[in-house]
């Protein structure tokens, strides 16, 4: 089993005729993903690598029922595209578009909550369950994905899409496969964070360990640590926190509201401490991750 997506997941691509979307659609099909429909207003009747294009989500879903959608439209249209997907009952939205205005992100997430749907991203490279499917463009071309990702028992959650592939590649090189890998998006506010995915991985019998790639800013890591202290997990968790050098450069905050909302938290060193105190094995170097994963898997066995 995997989380969020498997070989049966039928996928819609909103903005499918765009240059980037058209490329990842082709490569995802080659990888085995079931992309069955696309939407670009005004382009109904066209096909993108054999995938039929529709003017609206409603038309697309009527012809081709889907469980997930990839939103790859220009930033000004993300809000509208996401609301259209939600209105027509899609429950998994992967937003790959970068630089979406904060107000639009918050509005989309409020709508998603009201509809009981999950949003991954924005600014996500997507989800991959190796050898089964990919929802998004993580890993690039199909043959490159095959080199970096391999099926197995380790979940990866990453704030950086590129580093998710790097870590999967390190694990694959070490003979360790992955269950499902999720690029949660690099923005300050994203729909799904570490702590939201943890219960899904815990419920997945295939997953035996978790690797988290962390970055400066926000409270995603601190919340994971709090959650793990209160709810010990069956999954050993390994984390790497990038950007420790920024501790020394921390710019002065603008205004006081940020300090009120986040407190003194958010720095890489603070994240390392919080994660360690919660029992997470924090890798001092990136290259240590495979060894820590092996040790964790051995001690659980």
């Amino acid at each position: 089993m995997t989380i969020l997506a498997d070989a049966e997941t039928r996928i819609l691509v909103q903005g499918i005729t765009g240059r980037e979307a058209s490329t990842f659609t082709l490569e995802s099909l080659r990888y085995g993903a079931r992309i069955v429909a696309g939407v670009t207003p005004g382009k109904a009747g066209q096909q993108v690598h054999g995938v039929p294009v529709f003017d609206t989500v409603a038309q697309a879903l009527q012809a081709q029922p889907c469980q997930a959608t990839i939103i790859s439209v220009p930033a000004p249209f993300v809000h509208e595209a996401a609301c259209e997907a939600l209105k027509h009952g899609l429950k998994l939205l992967v937003i790959v578009t970068e630089r979406v205005p904060r107000a639009d992100v918050v509005a989309v997430l409020a709508q998603a909550t009201a509809h009981g749907a999950r949003v991954i991203g924005p600014n996500s490279l997507g989800i991959i369950s190796p050898h089964l499917t990919r929802i998004g463009m993580c890993g690039g071309a199909a043959d490159a994905v095959h080199k970096a990702y391999s099926p197995g028992s380790v979940g990866i959650i990453s704030r950086s899409g590129g580093m998710m592939t790097e870590i999967a590649n390190m694990l694959t090189q070490a003979g360790i496969g992955q269950s499902t890998c999720v690029s949660v998006g690099g923005d300050a506010i994203v729909g799904t964070a570490f702590v939201d995915l943890l219960p899904l991985y815990e419920a997945d019998p295939q997953t035996l360990a978790l690797v988290c790639f962390c970055e400066p800013g926000g409270l995603f890591e601190e919340r994971l640590a709090e959650h793990l202290r209160a709810n010990p997990s069956r999954l050993p968790t390994i984390a790497f926190v990038a950007g420790r050098f920024t501790d020394k450069l921390q710019g002065v905050r603008f205004g006081h509201a940020g300090a009120i909302v986040e407190g003194a938290r958010g720095s890489p060193s603070g994240k390392v401490t919080a994660l360690r105190e919660a029992g997470v094995r924090v890798a001092g170097k990136l290259g240590h991750i495979p060894r820590l994963v092996k040790e964790a898997l051995a001690s659980e066995a």
């Binding site: 930033a75 000004p76 630089r99 979406v100 205005p101 904060r102 107000a103 918050v106 997430l109 409020a110 463009m137 993580c138 890993g139 690039g140 071309a141 490159a144 994905v145 080199k147 970096a148 990453s158 704030r159 950086s160 899409g161 590129g162 580093m163 592939t165 790097e166 590649n169 390190m170 090189q173 690099g186 300050a188 506010i189 729909g191 790639f213 970055e215 400066p216 926000g218 409270l219 995603f220 919340r223 790497f240 990038a242 950007g243 420790r244 050098f245 920024t246 002065v252 905050r253 603008f254 205004g255 006081h256 509201a257 940020g258 300090a259 009120i260 909302v261 170097k285 990136l286 290259g287």
Partner: protein, 387 residues
């Protein structure tokens, strides 16, 4: 973009909020003239896009135009947190009977906008005990109610209550209308008349929403000037980036060492910088490349980085690339080094760009006898090999 106080106050005045009478001055003489025209005690404030101005001595009070001139010339010689003081706001000093803190920003945990308010304003408000926090999930319905609840919770009554309710509601609406990331009034002061007046403001706008605020941004020229405080090195890098739309090569930040870095993407750049510092190497710069940059772009960046004083080595390191082509990166780096009249094998201390077109890239590097690494060598092993 952080908006300077003077420009933020002009916007707030149009939204119906009261702000003190005042003008901008760039010299002691101008400051004295403004103080004379106002005809009352003034406060003179350095216009810098940072917090902690009061504690850094960037705010002075003057009773007469002559005093204003002296203080203005002192302020204009200051540098506050790296910002040279170039402009001053000279405005009437508002006498008040109470002050509060009101702020609107985003809460990344609650994934919503949040209204903050406190009875004790001032420079240490975040350490205060009683701060009201209220999520604002809808910028249309419920804004008036949020204003009344804030005013009530802060303990005001009668006209002061009504006026504060309206001011808070207007602040929330302005935050939404301008696509702000932060709108903070500290303090908002109550005059004896029952009017609330904006004594100081911090406003930050969402750069990702700039495309829908051209008219608003055109009215903030001083803030735009302060926001663009790049070094020549950063300016040249940005110029290279914007000359060619293929790929991203933004965010070059100078670090002063001898080891030039051509690295990416975002998460990998952070990881590589940590490894560089951990091994005691001296980086010349931080950098993020990605999105399949062209040969020309990589060539120009290579030349720019290697032309900085004291830079004698270049490391090219990326995570396993999926979109960027390793061979184009290799070609660009080699071209740049050769055009500078240098030998690639002398200057390039490591090249590690595994992923798409890696075999073709390695052929080029092999030809020039450059040391390269593949996907089997981790990022920090590559950095350790340099050190």
């Amino acid at each position: 973009m952080k908006v300077l106080e003077f420009e933020a106050k002009a916007l707030l005045r149009e939204q119906g909020l009261k702000v003190p009478q005042g003008e901008l001055a760039a010299s002691a003489q101008e400051a004295a003239n403004i103080a004379r025209d106002l005809g009352r005690p003034v406060v003179i404030k350095a216009q810098v896009p940072t917090t902690g101005r009061m504690k850094a001595g960037g705010m002075r009070f003057a009773d007469t135009p002559a005093e204003a001139a002296v203080m203005a010339s002192e302020l204009l010689s200051l540098e506050i947190k790296g910002f040279p003081v170039r402009t001053l706001l000279v405005e009437e000093n508002i006498s008040h009977v109470a002050e509060v803190f009101v702020g609107v920003t985003y809460d990344s945990v609650a994934r919503t906008a949040i209204l903050l308010a406190s009875r004790s304003g001032g420079t240490d408000v975040e350490s205060g005990e009683r701060i009201m926090r209220r999520p604002v999930s809808d910028f249309k319905a419920g804004v008036d109610q949020a204003g009344r609840e804030a005013a009530s919770e802060l303990g005001f009554e009668g006209q002061a209550f009504l006026n504060l309710s309206a001011a808070v509601a207007r602040l929330i609406q302005s935050f939404a209308q301008w696509d702000a990331l932060l709108l903070e009034i500290n303090p908002l002061v109550l005059e004896a008349s029952g009017q609330w007046c904006v004594a100081d403001v911090h406003l930050e706008l969402d750069p990702d929403a700039a495309y829908r605020h051209a008219a608003l941004l055109a009215r903030l020229p001083l803030s735009a000037r302060e926001a663009d405080r790049r070094t020549d090195f950063e300016r040249q890098a940005a110029k290279i980036d914007s000359t060619d739309h293929r790929g991203v090569a933004g965010r070059l930040v100078p670090f002063g060492g001898n080891l030039g870095l051509l690295i990416g993407g975002g998460g990998a750049s952070l990881t590589i910088m940590d490894a560089v510092f951990d091994t005691g190497l001296k980086p010349a710069n931080y950098c993020e490349i990605g999105g399949n940059p062209s040969v020309w772009k990589i060539k120009e960046l290579t030349k720019l980085i290697l032309s900085q004083p004291g830079v004698d080595q270049l490391a090219v390191i990326m995570n396993v690339v999926s979109n960027t082509r390793a061979d184009l990166v290799a070609r660009g780096v080699i071209k740049g080094v050769v055009e500078l009249g240098l030998r690639p094998s002398d200057v390039i201390s490591a090249f590690r760009v595994p992923g798409s077109w890696e075999a073709e890239g390695q052929d080029i590097l092999r030809h020039y006898r450059v040391r390269f690494y593949g996907r089997e060598t981790s990022i920090d092993q590559v950095v350790e090999a340099i050190a």
